[in-house]
């Protein structure tokens, strides 16, 4: 935080390290004893019942909320207590700006990075940036809608736009909070393909929250299950959830996965 030059001494080390993380609100424990190490270029999916604290964990990683105890390290440094440019994000809804067209929604990331006062770029630089954005839009299949407002787009197209908006500035980490939860099954399959492709092309480190176990298995390289191990039936909020399963997922989708899912589903 103090020096402007990035410390890359730990470049082959873990990208995200979470140690002894606890989060509680007055009267409610949400998370307890979370320990996690995520290496570069992992695709981690997080599943769990609703109310198990996976969204709270997501907000902690974003920097939107602060842990009660414990620390999150990103690239070896403790996380600043607010969202930052190293972690791109796509939410289930409201990820894009409704007052900007599709092209402007992508362009805004570049403009915000370069122009700290006017918040806009001009002239030749602007033309270059627009070209860069158009390449990105073409990549996700939105170029023909470049001048439309997000309101006119379908849910799937809005999420494509949200992805390109986030990825144009090149964040190392991509955080996804149930990004496909509101989409139709067919569209969802398309989006899975797109996310997988972008993940390998851009060498991203992805952390995705989902309530769909099979989606978690299909997409990720590693699956985390959040659940409560200690339950007091008289006081359900007394104990928080923690990571109960941490399974590597084989990329070879056609064999071996289905029994594991079944085993895990019966376990959860």
């Amino acid at each position: 935080m103090t020096s402007g030059t990035a410390q890359t001494g730990d470049s082959r080390g873990a990208l995200i390290r979470v140690s002894q993380l606890w989060k509680s609100y007055p009267g409610t424990a949400v998370l307890e004893r979370i320990n996690l190490v995520v290496e570069r270029n992992e695709f981690v999916t997080v599943v769990g019942a609703s109310g198990c604290g996976k969204t709270t964990f997501f907000k902690l990683l974003l920097g939107e909320e602060q842990p009660t105890r414990g620390t999150i390290f990103v690239a070896g440094k403790p996380l600043a207590p607010e969202p930052g440019k190293d972690r791109g994000v796509v939410f289930q809804r409201y990820s894009v700006f409704p007052h900007l067209t599709v092209l402007e929604n992508v362009l805004v990331g570049l403009e915000l990075r370069r122009s700290k006062f006017l918040c806009r770029s001009f002239g030749r630089r602007r033309r270059d940036e627009i070209e860069q954005c158009e390449r990105m839009l073409e990549r996700v299949g939105l170029l023909s809608s470049a001048n439309a407002y997000p309101d006119a787009l379908s849910g799937g197209m809005q999420q494509r736009l949200a992805l390109s908006q986030t990825l144009i500035t090149g964040p190392e980490i991509l955080l996804l909070d149930e990004p496909f939860g509101a989409l139709d099954p067919g569209i969802r399959a398309d989006m899975h393909g797109l996310v997988r492709e972008l993940y390998s092309e851009l060498k991203l480190t992805v952390l995705m929250i989902t309530h769909d176990l099979s989606e978690g298995f299909r997409l990720g390289t590693r699956l985390l299950v959040f659940d409560k191990v200690r339950v007091d039936p008289h006081e359900p909020d007394a104990y928080g959830a923690t990571i109960t399963y941490d399974v590597p997922v084989s990329r070879n989708r056609n064999n071996g996965n289905e029994p594991t899912i079944a085993a895990l589903e019966s376990g959860v």
Binding site: L62, E64, R93, V96, H99, G109, R113, Y149, D151, T166
Partner: protein
């Protein structure tokens, strides 16, 4: 078919909408005729001819005393006060709302004061304004500002808070600082909402304008109505009221159109 499921066609809707207006006119003319029959000097319900005379006098002939055409001079004076007042309110409401909605420290300091100020009935401080700012233009404009700004400020603050938190987080992950979030994310999105708040405040602005003009003024629509009241000049008052209503209606329509034109993304997304 149930009554709740029967809808008038477009033509039928226009006809039923016109009926109450027509009924009002017919009732007026009937009673006007009855009264004028009994007493041709009656001033309470003037005839159509007296209206035509009054309108001719007020709107098309220069006044013998000042040489100005009164209706236009009054309209210009009133609209000027209205626009300055509502403009200052809009500016204050926008600035305050964005700061208050975005910056917790700012809102902690200023929200309570604005909440208290907005509880003061504006007309009650009109004497104070006359004492402090004199009987000229300033006190009238200040009354309009005092009457409308607190509402716009609080409405804007609310609109800023209503923006989805996801957008603010998203902007931060795009490396935006507070200023940039205000300029690129918050301000453009509350602009059309500001236009709406101003439009809804126009009714209150007219009220305060006419009240201030009635008490101390030398021209203006409200001044004229209260002046000719002394002579029971219904033939002037009624056309003036109709004119004010028309102006209010046109302003409202203009704001709606302007909003739709300037902010095409707005409206469908509400």
């Amino acid at each position: 078919m149930r009554l709740i499921n029967q809808r008038p066609s477009r033509g039928a809707a226009i006809i039923v909408a016109a009926l109450p207006f027509a009924a009002l006119v017919v009732i007026y003319l009937t009673f006007s005729d009855i009264r004028l029959e009994a007493n041709p000097q009656d001033k309470l319900l003037p005839s159509v001819e007296s209206f035509a005379d009054a309108i001719q006098r007020m709107a098309f002939e220069p006044s013998v005393r000042t040489g100005k055409i009164l209706l236009w001079a009054d309209t210009a004076a009133s609209l000027q006060r209205l626009f300055i007042g509502i403009g200052v309110s809009a500016l204050a409401g926008f600035t305050f709302g964005v700061l208050n909605g975005m910056i917790p420290w700012f809102s902690a300091a200023w929200s309570p004061l604005v909440r208290v100020l907005s509880m003061i009935p504006p007309i009650a401080i009109l004497p104070i304004l006359f004492i402090m700012f004199g009987l000229g233009e300033l006190s009238k404009v200040v009354l309009i500002v005092f009457g409308t700004a607190p509402f716009i400020m609080r409405d804007m603050e609310q609109r800023v808070r209503e923006l989805p938190g996801e957008q603010i987080v998203k902007a931060q992950t795009l490396d935006a600082n507070t200023w940039q979030i205000a300029v690129r994310v918050v301000a453009p999105q509350v602009m059309p909402r500001l236009m709406d708040a101003v439009r809804l405040s126009l009714g209150a602005a007219w009220l305060f304008l006419i009240a201030a003009e009635a008490i101390a003024s030398t021209e203006g629509l409200g001044y004229r109505i209260f002046l000719v009241r002394r002579y029971l000049a219904m033939d002037v008052i009624l056309p003036y009221v109709a004119w004010i209503t028309l102006l209010a209606f046109l302003l409202d329509a203009a704001f709606r159109k302007l909003n739709a034109f300037l902010f095409p993304w707005y409206g469908t997304n509400r």
